[in-house]
């Protein structure tokens, strides 16, 4: 794609990591779509903030631990990760609990960012 066609993509993640397939599916779509060199940002809201909670150990539930893959996002030039402040607070979490560097924003701030996007993908 040529430079002029770069669009702003936002992936909105609102589901906890293992109870549904949304978190893993979103991550895979993000990695696949990274090949198109677009302007990508990831927003983690509501239970979606749990996706980044450090320290997954999935041996007991016998599913693949996909948390290390979030650390590869930087290799894919995806480094705009936004986490909802209200969601962290309602879950007793802080920025230090996140497994990758993130920017903490209020819901309203995420809402404003959302308005600036060309494409919003919901998970």
């Amino acid at each position: 794609m040529s430079e002029g066609q770069v669009k702003k993509f936002m992936y909105v993640n609102r589901k906890a990591p293992h109870g549904t397939i949304y978190a893993l599916e979103s991550l895979e779509v993000v990695l696949i779509a990274a090949a198109f060199d677009q302007d990508v940002s990831l927003a983690f809201m509501d239970d979606g903030v749990y996706q980044l909670k450090k320290g997954f150990n999935t041996k007991g539930i016998e599913v693949k631990n996909f948390q290390p893959t979030y650390r590869a996002l930087d290799d894919y030039d995806i480094n705009k990760l936004y986490v909802e402040q209200e969601a962290l607070e309602a879950r007793g979490l802080t920025q230090e609990d996140m497994c990758v560097p993130v920017e903490v924003l209020t819901r309203a701030e995420i809402g404003k960012l959302m308005e600036t996007q060309d494409i919003v993908l919901s998970f």
Binding site: L31, I32, A33, F66, P68, T69, A72, D75, Y76
Partner: protein, 110 residues
């Protein structure tokens, strides 16, 4: 599907990728390479080992673009370019090298 190495059977998917990454060993890699018409050199092993390390750390097979950049960082710019990697793996470093390394097909590789 399956392949046989030293009397042991290894399961593969319909495209020839090893089903269980943990079953991989160098002899399996050599046979998988043979099936791809690749004669494993030291340079080939370097890429294969790099891919396995990357998978261990991040739990994914990197896209070619990412692989190229990461190899450049680790092994030097003369190796971190697609020409070098395509010379080693003519049908695509992502596809062929991942297969030989026992990894799943790279995410985003169609």
């Amino acid at each position: 599907m399956a392949i046989e190495v030293n009397g042991k059977t290894y399961e593969t998917d319909e495209e020839g990728y090893l089903t269980d990454i943990n079953e991989w060993n160098e002899d399996v890699a050599k046979l998988l390479a043979e099936q791809e018409n690749i004669n494993m050199s030291e340079q080939h092993w370097e890429v294969i080992n790099f891919l396995r390390e990357y998978y261990n750390e991040f739990q994914i097979a990197p896209a070619v673009r990412v692989l190229t950049k990461a190899i450049g960082k680790k092994l030097g710019p003369e190796k971190g370019n697609s020409q070098y990697l395509y010379e080693l793996f003519p049908y695509g470093p992502g596809k062929q090298a991942c297969k030989i390394a026992g990894l799943p097909k790279p995410t985003g590789c169609i």
